[in-house]
Symmetry: C2
Subunit: 194 residues, 2 copies
């Protein structure tokens, strides 16, 4: 199984590193015998600068990544420039048509909606962009959900929700037991102190 | 306020990106007028490869980072080679003596203990290394705590606990209201699905 994590300038750090940690933990500790591979993917070669300044070297580009079973699409202010970008729309529609499971975190779902991929589907996003999501197509906006799984497309709420949706993916694509093992591995017993 | 986040080969991704997200969100949205700055710091120049393969370009090195008010020290398998490394011990003891608040996540506390910084203090670590922590000095190991704040040194439990301890830092160094704003910003209402 090949899992791509899209990185781009202005991607919010935790949006993609949360799922990265969960999925790569699964690949390394539980899924190695199944050949699960987690890769970062960027549109072009070169350094990617995330929304809060982290600079990353992507593993692959769109051109050389090959077939993907899953694509994780983070949010962040970088998604704003992506609205209306037909090249991104076509890439996403092509992946969807080829059977790649598309998974957004935070405002990543705005890009999915803008590409027409959420028409007629329930979906969510960061709480601050719920209204915007509804304006980008015939989307059934779900403000109360931590994530929404519609089969071929999954959308999650803001930033930290990427951890929850990634655990859901491990349960769906692997098993509940494997997801529990990852949860225990990353000691995900959250206790927000405020 | 200058906050450094230590990055090194084998650092666990979420260990440091969790606090990074929280602290950089604070710096960008709430603390800009106070001049809060969050920087990644590595021992040497060049690409750092994290435990699960993310490749990062650090902002600064030990040599050029200057004075730090806070240092976040992640865990990950990279900490194993750091045990017994006197150069790291001296760097950490020097920062502590200069008044830098030292904050570990996960097995980062093993390095603090190895440097003698946790002698006579309560502390925690990833659940799998609690015993090891107790063997590295006169440490009062606290298996049940999400994080332990002893004033000049703070230690957190495994991986995802970095998010919780970072929110605690915002509350301590800023205010509870600011920490709540960051929590809302990153939509940290965790709902583990398994």
């Amino acid at each position: 199984m090949r899992i791509g994590v899209h990185v781009f300038d202005g991607a919010e750090e935790l949006d993609w590193v949360g799922p990265w940690e969960v999925l790569a933990w699964w690949a390394q500790h539980g899924g190695a015998d199944r050949g699960i591979e987690v890769l970062s993917v960027a549109r072009h070669e070169g350094v990617v600068t995330c929304a809060k300044g982290v600079r990353v070297l992507p593993d692959r580009t769109w051109a050389d990544v090959g077939a993907l079973d899953v694509l994780v699409y983070p949010g962040g202010r970088g998604t704003r420039q992506q609205l209306g970008d037909e090249t991104i729309h076509e890439w996403l529609r092509g992946l969807h048509a080829a059977g790649t499971l598309l998974v957004s975190v935070c405002t990543g779902s705005l890009v999915f909606a803008d590409a027409g991929l959420l028409d007629g589907r329930p979906a969510t996003t960061h709480w601050s962009t719920l209204e915007r999501l509804g304006e980008l197509g015939d989307v059934q906006v779900r403000p109360e959900e931590r994530f929404v799984d519609t089969g071929g497309i999954v959308t999650a709420a803001g930033v930290s929700a990427g951890i929850d949706v990634a655990l859901h993916l491990v349960a769906r694509l692997g098993s509940v037991d494997e997801a529990r093992d990852v949860r225990r591995g990353i000691q995900y017993d959250p206790k927000p102190p405020v």
